[in-house]
């Protein structure tokens, strides 16, 4: 497997923006809803290019989800945009009834997710959105790892006609390490690095951290598999089971609360089919604070070094057998 390298940095939200411009050109039914954060979630380019297909709904995310549902009933393909906290948390009841229960194909595109949104502080750090969204029947949940994968995820989400799709991405510029040759299929995880001793299953920004961690671990003689589980729902159960059976030790890594996110999804499944030692790299049941993204990643334990330590623990627990 080729070495994974970063080819510069770009924001995942820019991938969303660029996908919208292409979708606007390709599909006249695509409409975009903005909630007074058009510049920061980067729907402004679409609004400028296709003013007749962009609707400002004000700072009213609950309304936005209903409007999206109504537009979808008349044949439009609505893309609702907001910050993660206000895309998933605030309008949860609207998403549950008007989109998920009603199986309405709306794309909820959530920028500024995770603790890495940084200086805005805890109110704006969406750390519960994966948990909220993945518990809903008929919902698809995607957390892409870089600029290009975000762009491809947004475009691919149009193929999902049954129920809503939640796509989670970030504000900051982050390494670009996938390219057009990297596979991307919704619901199918990507194994970026092969390994036998431990499998690091990551989403979003933690995929790159996992790649870096695997390099460190390799130096210690620990062979770490790195899996980009970009689709959290539906979970790629085959890839997960294979990793659990072949490595016997799992580390999950995410910019999200430890409860209810990727780690929980992985544990819930493996507990049923192949109970496996698992370490969780996630925010540990606490709210965040102001600071820079990389600083917060370190302080809250979701950076490369935390993944390295978690992998060491997982490998040692595996060797120690059931008593650990």
């Amino acid at each position: 497997m080729a070495r994974i390298e970063s080819k510069g940095e770009k924001a995942t939200r820019q991938g969303f923006s660029d996908a919208l411009l292409e979708l606007g050109e390709e599909n006249p039914n695509v409409v975009v809803l903005g909630g007074d954060v058009s510049g920061s979630v980067k729907v402004d380019a679409f609004a400028k290019a296709y003013p007749d297909r962009f609707f400002s709904v004000g700072v009213a995310e609950a309304d936005m989800m209903g409007i999206a549902a109504g537009l979808a009933l008349t044949g439009k393909i609505p893309i609702a945009s907001a910050y993660g906290e206000f895309a998933a948390g605030r309008p949860f009841d609207q998403i549950r009834q008007s989109l998920a229960y009603s199986e309405i194909p709306v794309k909820i595109c959530a920028s500024h997710c995770g603790i890495t949104v940084g200086p805005d502080g805890a109110t704006h750090q969406s750390l519960e959105d994966i948990a909220l969204m993945r518990v809903l029947p008929h919902m698809t949940v995607i957390s892409p790892c870089d600029y290009l994968e975000t762009k491809r995820a947004v475009k691919a989400s149009l193929s999902i006609m049954k129920g809503p799709v939640y796509i989670r991405f970030f504000r900051d510029n982050t390494p670009m390490f996938t390219d057009q040759s990297t596979p991307f299929t919704i619901g199918r995880a990507n194994t970026l690095i092969d390994g036998e001793d431990v499998a690091i299953v990551a989403v979003g920004l933690q995929v790159w951290e996992a790649v870096l961690a695997a390099e460190v671990l390799a130096g210690e003689g620990i062979s770490a598999r790195v899996i980009n589980m970009h689709t959290i729902k539906p979970l790629d159960k085959d890839t997960l089971l294979k990793a659990a059976m072949e490595t016997g030790a799992i580390v999950t890594a995410e910019d999200h609360q430890i409860h209810g996110g990727l780690g929980s999804a992985v544990a819930e499944h493996l507990a049923q089919v192949h109970p496996t030692v698992q370490e969780f790299v996630a925010v540990k049941d606490t709210f965040g604070e102001s600071g820079k993204g990389p600083e917060l990643m370190k302080k809250y334990g979701i950076a490369k070094d935390d993944i390295v330590n978690a992998a060491r623990r997982a490998v040692s627990r595996k060797k120690g057998g059931r008593r650990s």
Binding site: V31, D63, G66, I104
Partner: protein
């Protein structure tokens, strides 16, 4: 006006159909022994008018692209909607006896045709306050494509306590969605008490006007007045319109009328019998004849 395949009813026909819908509601609730009585009974005249005069639809082809979009935002009012849909031919009359029972398509709160199979229902409702946004979105989508379909959304007055309704009203006003008509079932009753005790809504008409809506007030238990109000509303250009329809909760059943305690409970069998005795049978016929009704008919013979 009217659906693609239903009769052109006169006002007295609509009144008779409203009485039949009331009988249907009582019988459905007597069978289910669960569900809401008061609101649905109060809305029978409005639903008769909607489904036998105002709305354009094709019951044999519920997804007819030229249909009007009707949204019942206050989903707990489902019994009156189910009765109207059945009477309009969307599904067999006898299916009304399955209300709220296991494996029914007539859920306690409405679920859409493409997930739960009941024709005529566009989207789920039940958690209150969501219909206005959906209706505004549909009106926006239809207007984008210059389609002539009209959108109607019905809210309970107590439901207006929900903040999302006002977000949606603001959006509909902002985009001047004149293909959208809202109906408020103004019966002054909600679960806990009368609306002015739970949360004062007045001055209600002025609030809608302040949100850039054209406001029409009428007696929602008077078919003629309601038809005229809807005609004015749907003909109004440049703003969305709301018909604030004053109704009596429990209308037609003496011991339920204007009593908020009938919001969320069904009649007992004895109360149901009493209610039916106050709502004389119509030429449309009931969807079910109970055993005691048959016995009574025998005695009369």
């Amino acid at each position: 006006m009217g659906g693609r395949n239903h009769q052109q009813f006169s006002v007295s026909d609509l009144q008779e159909m409203a009485r039949q819908i009331r009988r249907d509601i009582i019988k459905m609730l007597m069978i289910s022994q669960s569900g809401h009585s008061g609101g649905p009974l109060g809305l029978a005249d409005i639903f008769s008018s909607l489904y036998f005069k105002i709305l354009r639809y094709d019951a044999s082809n519920p997804t007819w692209p030229e249909r009007d979009f009707f949204f019942l935002s206050a989903g707990h009012l489902a019994p009156v909607w189910y009765a109207a849909l059945a009477r309009a031919g969307f599904f067999p009359l006898n299916e009304m006896s399955t209300l709220r029972k296991l494996n029914t398509r007539l859920h306690g709160h409405p679920a859409p045709w493409y997930t739960h199979g009941l024709p005529g229902i566009e989207i789920a409702s039940g958690a209150l306050g969501q219909g206005m946004s959906i209706a505004a979105g549909a009106a926006l989508g239809l207007r984008m494509d210059k389609r002539p379909n009209r959108v109607v959304v019905l809210h309970g007055d107590g439901e207006l306590d929900e903040g999302q309704v006002w977000e949606g009203m603001m959006t509909a006003g902002h985009y001047a969605l004149d293909n959208l008509t809202a109906i408020v079932d103004r019966n002054f009753c909600q679960i806990d008490n009368r609306t002015d005790k739970v949360m004062e809504l007045e001055p209600l008409a002025d609030k809608w006007r302040a949100f850039r809506w054209n406001v029409i007030e009428c007696d929602g238990n008077d078919v003629g007045e309601f038809l005229q109000a809807m005609k004015d509303a749907q003909g109004f250009k440049g703003k969305p319109s709301v018909v604030i329809a004053k109704t009596f909760m429990g209308k037609g059943v003496s011991f339920m009328e204007d009593d908020y305690r009938w919001h969320g409970v069904p009649p007992s069998i004895e109360q149901g019998k009493q209610a039916l005795s106050e709502l004389s049978p119509t030429r449309f016929g009931d969807f079910i004849e109970f055993e005691w009704e048959k016995r009574k008919a025998e005695v009369v013979k």
